[in-house]
Amino acid sequence: MALRVLSKTFLSQRLTGAQRGTIALRFYATKKYTASHEWIEIDNGVGTVGITDYAQNALGDVVYVEVPEVGTQVEFDETVGVVESVKSTSDIYSPLTGEITASNDKVVANTKLINKSAESDGWLFKVKFSSQQEVDALLNESDYKMLIESDH
């Protein structure tokens, strides 16, 4: 694991504690994508879901957001929320079957968060998933990159 060794050296020499935490997380959490421009960070049985930076850029200024309620049971591909710009409405579907364990009230109150930080602070909801098969069927980063490049 050359990458891990390199990272360790890099971390100890260059990074502050806070940054180290972020980097370390990336070794345990896996980021997945959908063809419809959502990201899902898989960590310890829970998927955190948002729209990709590519999607927020295409949508433009987000002015209205709805997220699912905590405790809701959701099915794969079920409508669970909405992201709206001045011009258009985009439904949000759950990428995974399971239970909603958290939703981001901050993006509802401050919809600009999605434009500013789509793939981090602009997350929409967390789902405790019940099917690893559904997770495995999601796109990985290189697949997703290929997809958006072919869209050009």
């Binding site: 999607a55 591909d77 709206e84 001045v86 985009s90 439904d91 869209d151």
Partner: protein, 396 residues
């Protein structure tokens, strides 16, 4: 999971009109390169590759900038025609509802092309020039309007009338809109525009280039629509942009601005099935025209005006909760379906959701409490007077 699944939204995701460029079907305006230089994101509109938003500001920023300062919209995709000949008034009055004989030279009016069923074929701005009628109509209706004008002018010509329809191909059209428009234009025109009323037009030299300047627009603000020789349009647009208060704005902002101003979008809020009475546009039918008729569909339209009939009315709505978009169903307080939204946005200048809609006659009075069904949820809506945002039209 499909956040951006609707077909209409997918178009947004296709950057820079790449697909259309490869098929070679879309047209470009003379300002295409300038838009690109300003980082425009393009989208297809009526067969044209038009700027939606620019790199330095999104639709929301452009909207607010237009209300506070001034923006330039490229509207060169619109159809510009000139009707000439001494029988021009008689000819065009056959196709539209306006009283063109009463319109003074330099005066402009909103009018409607009508069909035999009393429906609206397009809306248009007509300016009375010394020797001609200058007609600007929608890009989305350009082919249809031109065919309509040409087929009818042939009938008039065959009957011996002195009239012709000339398509203006050598002039581009830009709209300078917003409270700073007058000052910005005066800097280049070297004339005072303070005495030029709203809804008038005249020829003015801009940077020494003769241009037709109409004080009108589609934003609810003061502003001008400039018909500029195409060879000069880029340099004049650039010169206007040197003014720090002037920025380019795209079709995204144009739609939310016109909706706040209560102005109809043809194809959404009015179409070939809506009549002037239903669309709340009876004011465009000239007084003499109401008495005399003589335009296509006059029997239907004048009967509806006389009887206040027609089954539905266009209204403005303010909506609680989530925005209600086009085709959202409208219910009465009792829960009966009584209409449909035709355009709806979260209004950037107001911070609330507004919509234009058609409701069954009787439910159109200001203050009427209605319901809208957004994603199977029932939300409150109230009929309000339009415009939603007070007009900033120039007063002398």
């Amino acid at each position: 999971m499909a956040a951006i699944r609707a077909a209409r939204t997918l178009q947004l995701l296709r950057p820079a009109g790449a697909q259309l460029m490869s098929t070679g079907v879309s047209q470009r305006t003379a300002l295409y390169e300038l838009h690109k230089l300003h980082g425009a994101k393009f989208g297809p509109f009526a067969g044209w590759d038009m700027p939606l938003v620019y790199a330095d500001q999104g639709a929301l920023d452009s909207h607010l900038h237009t209300r506070q300062h001034a923006s330039i919209f490229d509207v060169s995709h619109m159809l510009q025609t000139r009707i000439v000949g001494k029988d021009r008034h008689r000819f065009l009055e056959h196709l539209v509802v306006a009283d063109l004989k009463e319109l003074p030279v330099g005066g402009a009016t909103l009018s409607l092309f009508t069909n035999v069923s009393g429906g609206i074929e397009d809306d248009t701005i007509i300016t009375q020039q010394n020797d001609s009628l200058y007609v600007v109509s929608n890009a989305g209706c350009a082919d249809k309007d031109l065919a309509h004008l040409l087929s009818h002018v042939k009938i008039f010509q065959d009957a011996g009338a002195d009239v012709d329809v000339l398509k203006i191909d050598d002039h581009s059209l830009i709209a300078l809109q917003g409270p700073s428009s007058q000052k910005a234009l005066e800097q280049l025109a070297a004339v005072s525009l303070s005495q030029m009323p709203f809804m008038t037009g005249k020829f003015i030299d801009i940077k020494g280039v003769p241009c037709h300047v109409a004080r009108s627009g589609y934003t609810g603000e003061d502003g001008f629509e400039l018909s500029i020789p195409t060879s000069e349009v880029a340099s004049i647009t650039q010169a206007l942009l040197e003014n720090k208060e002037v920025k380019l704005a795209g079709l995204g902002a144009r739609d939310s601005l016109r909706l706040e101003a209560g102005l109809c979008l043809y194809g959404s809020d009015i179409d070939s099935t809506t009549t002037p009475m239903e669309a709340n546009l009876v004011w465009t039918v000239g007084k003499r025209r109401r008495a005399e008729g003589g335009f296509i569909g006059a029997d239907v339209i004048l009967a509806q005006i006389a009887n206040k009939s027609g089954i539905r009315r266009r209204v403005g709505l303010v909506i609680e909760g989530a925005p209600a978009r086009a085709h959202t169903k409208i219910l009465s307080a009792e829960g009966d379906e009584i209409g449909e939204v035709t355009s709806g946005v979260p209004a950037p200048s107001l911070g609330k959701n507004i919509a234009m809609a058609y409701v069954r006659k009787g439910f159109n009075k200001q203050g009427t409490k209605l319901k809208v069904k957004v994603r199977n949820r029932i939300q409150d809506a109230t009929v309000v007077k339009m415009p939603f945002v007070p007009a900033g039209y120039h007063k002398i």
